[in-house]
Symmetry: C2
Subunit: 328 residues, 2 copies
């Protein structure tokens, strides 16, 4: 495998969201009709209501694929993120913050009247996180936002399945994949969410068959993709459709599925699981970091497990230690 | 005129809005595509964008009829305000603040997922105010929000024309008027906005003919009501349709129109007009205060002029001095 003239290890295309975190009492969830521990998509009206009821907040750039890019940077790799923010205060904050952690940011076009997306995270005293996501402009990605030079600068392009709810974003994924393959790059996709997979199963199948070299997903997403509750059936389907896939199974570790083999890699032990948010995102970061350095697949999955273990041992979806020190 | 068993001078039904004021540079207006000095209705998306771009803000309860009630209280009268806020932070703020200035607040039902309305006011260094109103739940008033006991507690009910854009609010106005008349109270209406009058001219005509005892408006609103640029033509129309009407003409003063007479009352002189926001609202307050105390119509209009003069001599739509001292 050679990646001629690349300047980045991974280029991701995903939802550019600002995480807005606040400590709240349990009564806050009840008052706002939130179910603890869940993620809800909300509209702008509800975003106003919830945000205005918060006290002090902490803001940081977030979003699934952006979290993965933070992992690449923390591992010592080079990452670029393509996402859509608006020309507003949160959009500027996203750009500033993701750049500050060493991820190059290519800012998609803003859309008149549509604010930057955000995930309002209510943290209760039991350290549980209840997420309320207003996608805003982030989900309105179009092929015009796919910067060709940016895509070609990466060894691997990484596409965030969450975006796949919008027709224009589907077209943008095709554009990114065509561009990447035209420059002999690899295309990876994370399924992101089993409900999104259910809503767009046929389109995901077509994208995977046509364009995806490396598929990331967890058990629930894989089972949604193949409409089965039987993991082994899903895996045997997968082997026919994808160059290779990496399926995460929480504490059971991960499974790398290729045409030739099914490789099981155990999870890295964690003294105490504090917050599982970002586990899948950081696993993908570790795996892709190893992959872009030509490591064996089992080592790629090990690095993924190490990165995931770090992120679930504390609050928040971004590594708090330099991951490159953990894999040395 | 007798108002048996009343506990309030005026009961208003209007938009319950929180004013959110911030000092901004001129470049802020340009960056957000705002035209200086105008009022724009905005949606929740734009409210998020604008609010998040503001620095320090000052919040106060606002809205046209609520401003009028603040004037009644400042004049030493007793006022009640019926409006719709949500069970959110801004809604609580509205309730707390309007109560603190001595206006009784009857809180209409909240609507799931719809936040409290707000007017985001960008104040530029030249002291101009550019208003961006997200009506939110305030405009969703229905007959169910019309508390009968509250309506009957006032000598006069005062209806805010701004609300008249929604069918349910039109029904709520009818409900309030029927209830008031059933208890031998007077019904007043302010036209609020010439564009709103244009959109609902026929409905306004019917409401005025059927239910309105005292009509408030300015020249532009009156001319919109009768589709004429000729003030005298409009006034002669008015005399046939309304027990009496009070038309404000800025520095030209006001005109009280009854079946029998047309009474002109000059404006009160102001050393320097700083901000005309709230002029009409406070004129109505002064007039209604006099009216509920059985004063002559010319004196009612004089008190209106005094209250209006106070409010245009400083920033903001609420009196900053005790109006009762000005009319002593």
């Amino acid at each position: 495998m050679s990646f001629k003239d690349t300047t980045h290890d991974v280029v991701a295309v995903g939802n550019a969201l600002v995480d807005i975190l606040a400590q709240v009492p349990d009564s806050f969830l009840e008052a706002h009709g939130m179910e603890k521990g869940t993620m809800s998509l909300i509209d702008a009206e509800r975003a106003l209501q919830i945000q205005e009821s918060l006290g002090e907040t902490v803001q940081t750039s977030g979003g699934s694929a952006a979290n993965t890019m933070s992992g690449i940077a923390s591992l010592g790799g080079s990452a670029l993120f393509i996402g859509k923010v608006s020309n507003d205060a949160l959009g500027d904050e996203f750009a500033r913050e993701i750049s500050s952690i060493g991820v190059e940011f290519v800012r998609g076009a803003s859309v008149e009247g549509m604010p930057t997306g955000r995930c309002v995270i209510a943290v209760t005293p039991d350290a549980q996180r209840t997420l309320n996501t207003f996608l805003g402009v982030s989900s309105l990605l179009t092929p015009a936002d796919i910067n060709t030079a940016a895509i070609e600068s990466g060894k691997v392009v990484y596409l965030e399945g969450y975006l796949y709810d919008q027709p224009a974003a589907k077209a943008a994924f095709r554009e990114a994949a065509n561009c990447a393959h035209g420059a002999s790059r690899k295309v990876s996709l994370t399924l992101s969410d089993s409900f999104c997979v259910q809503r767009h199963r046929e389109d995901f199948h077509a994208l995977i068959a046509d364009e995806v070299d490396i598929l990331f997903g967890n058990e629930a997403e894989l089972e949604a993709l193949y409409e089965t509750r039987d993991f082994d059936v899903a895996v045997s389907n997968l082997r026919q459709h994808c160059e290779f896939a990496v399926i995460t199974r929480s504490e059971k570790g991960s499974v790398v599925v290729t045409h030739g083999e099914v490789l099981e890699v155990p999870a890295t032990r964690v003294a105490k699981v504090v917050d599982t948010t970002g586990a899948g995102d950081l696993f993908a970061a570790g795996f892709l970091f190893g992959f872009t350095r030509g490591m064996e697949l089992s080592r790629c999955a090990e690095i993924g497990a190490i990165a995931a273990a770090e992120v679930i041992s504390h609050m928040g979806p971004r590594p708090l230690t330099q991951l490159k020190n953990l894999i040395a």
